[in-house]
Symmetry: none
Subunit: 199 residues, 4 copies
Amino acid sequence: MPKLGMEPIRRRQLIEATIAAIQEGGLAEATVSRIGHRAGLSPGIIHHYFEDKDALLEATMRALASDFRLGIVKRVARETAPLARLGAVIEGFLAPEQLTPQTVAAWLAFSALVRSKPRLARIQRVIVRRLHSNLKHELKRVVPAAEAEQIAEGLGTLLDGLWLRAATSPTGPDPASAHRLAFDYLELQLARSRTNRQV
Amino acid sequence: MPKLGMEPIRRRQLIEATIAAIQEGGLAEATVSRIGHRAGLSPGIIHHYFEDKDALLEATMRALASDFRLGIVKRVARETAPLARLGAVIEGFLAPEQLTPQTVAAWLAFSALVRSKPRLARIQRVIVRRLHSNLKHELKRVVPAAEAEQIAEGLGTLLDGLWLRAATSPTGPDPASAHRLAFDYLELQLARSRTNRQV
Amino acid sequence: MPKLGMEPIRRRQLIEATIAAIQEGGLAEATVSRIGHRAGLSPGIIHHYFEDKDALLEATMRALASDFRLGIVKRVARETAPLARLGAVIEGFLAPEQLTPQTVAAWLAFSALVRSKPRLARIQRVIVRRLHSNLKHELKRVVPAAEAEQIAEGLGTLLDGLWLRAATSPTGPDPASAHRLAFDYLELQLARSRTNRQV
Amino acid sequence: MPKLGMEPIRRRQLIEATIAAIQEGGLAEATVSRIGHRAGLSPGIIHHYFEDKDALLEATMRALASDFRLGIVKRVARETAPLARLGAVIEGFLAPEQLTPQTVAAWLAFSALVRSKPRLARIQRVIVRRLHSNLKHELKRVVPAAEAEQIAEGLGTLLDGLWLRAATSPTGPDPASAHRLAFDYLELQLARSRTNRQV
DNA sequence: GATGAATGAGGGTTCATTCAT
DNA sequence: TATGAATGAACCCTCATTCAT
């Protein structure tokens, strides 16, 4: 009998090699050959575990999305107070272990690819929507629904901007200042909301 | 008898064909051949006007950056009051003629490329820096320097987020709601600044 | 504890899977992997029972030739009269169970391969020669040797033509009309031979 | 301006290189690379003149069919008497310049391919049908229609058999004996037809 | 005996680039 | 100035074959 149970191991190896390869030279140089080499395997093996190169890219994007989501979910689960949970979403989004150069580079590359690959677009849409509904859900517990919707949109957009800057900054991500900016925005919005209601 | 003055015309044609090609199929399908065809020219022509494909891409990114900058500068020049000029920067950034699907797709593709092409990185860095200094310069005329710095960073980040969402949204850019979000942020920040100073 | 007596069973399984695979997609798509799958076995198994793919192909062609020959021999053995035995050769050659789409497709594929594979050429040569000597042997009992030689050649060629048409016809083999054509040829030749001798 | 009018020249070169490559090593070794090399060109050029390798193969089969047909048509055109024209068809079919080892090997390879490539099947069907209608047309001028149909079928089949033997014979085609066999068949059939009518 | 993981050569194809015209 | 023929490297992918289990 051959080595059994290699599939999940190899798939994960190849996905991680893909992310690393993208970070090193961009999507254009993340060739099947180089990904295989980086995983310590031969080029041909990729088609043993993935139907296509496209399938590998899709699995990679899905893994990125899933890891990212998990990082947030775990933090949120530790809190109970609405505001603390809201903060956990932001902190999870901007946590240094989420914004690694590799992750951020790969995700940016996929974002550009999304326009021409509908299957990737779906993955991206799902994750954006989930972030929005997370934010909105927690906000609704502290502000009226209409405002929650608006604040969630603004905050989500700001987080996207922070992420984009992390991705394209030559010095890499700066979690501390990102953190400050996001919380400042949240506080401003909440303060105004309170004022409105007091009047 | 060589036709005189063709160079700038051809260069512009090719740059525009490049942008269009990127929008249609992503950077991966923006081949020299397709770009030439789209410009109504032969594949070989590119190397008459550009040293190689990278040079064409660089020129394209530079053109995008320059057009973008011009769109803002023109609006700002029409205003004199600091707040109006600030608004003009935001409006220029988010103006529908700036956020065309073509422009936005091309710029996103270049953003992903930037990590592996230092020459493109420089172009991007310049434009980000200019936006920041524009915002800061106008803000300094209405709020103290320290606050101006922070507000400029926040506003710049939010604009980036709005742009990114425009670039990756399946329904395309939504200038109206982007506009509202940006101005709301600006007003909140300015209001707080005023409050601080009144105390 | 090795299973005993598996070898002939497995070899036959693989040979039949090869024939089926060739019929389905031509020789080009009859890969080791697909043949194994069709036999309900793994891709690697082929090299347990055959030295390499060429050996499997050779065994397959040999099996086809042998089955084909057996089909004729059995029919001939049932007859004693020279003419009846001659008819049995023809009938055996054109019998529906010989001209199955699978058989015919595989044999045609091998015929094309023969030019570049000397070992296959030998197998083919043997079977053609045997058919010829079968026909000639029976003919010699009813016509003079010189005529037997010529008629055997003509009849053999006609049978080849019938077989080729069966192999390449889009509607598949038509044994009935093939049968008629072959016997008509034989009768014409025998009639002339009789006439010659009467003079 | 580049070299003009190369297309028909190159296409013919590549088609002939394809035929030669098939003869040398069979279809399996007639790779794009080897075909290109044999034509004194680079591998990439094939896709300049043909969409696909399949398109090249199709063009090659079409060229073989067309050359073959032309060889017959020219001979027939020189004759006026029905029997002479009939003889010209046979002679054209079996002419040494038609039955070259290259031609015959390539056509056999295509015949095997036909089962899995519908587009090639069409080409083959057309040429078989044309031969049949040629034979029938001339025969109708010397024998009744019903007999013409049958004789044409028999003669066509015999010619196919002769061709197949030429293709698979280790010593190559033997036009002289092929010629004799075919004319003998024709004469036998015509003689019988005459006898029938005299009765 | 049998598996399927793994290899690496070679397949068809695409593409940036060069060059004669 | 502009063409498109031509190149050759590199891409993704398939495949016969090997091998640890």
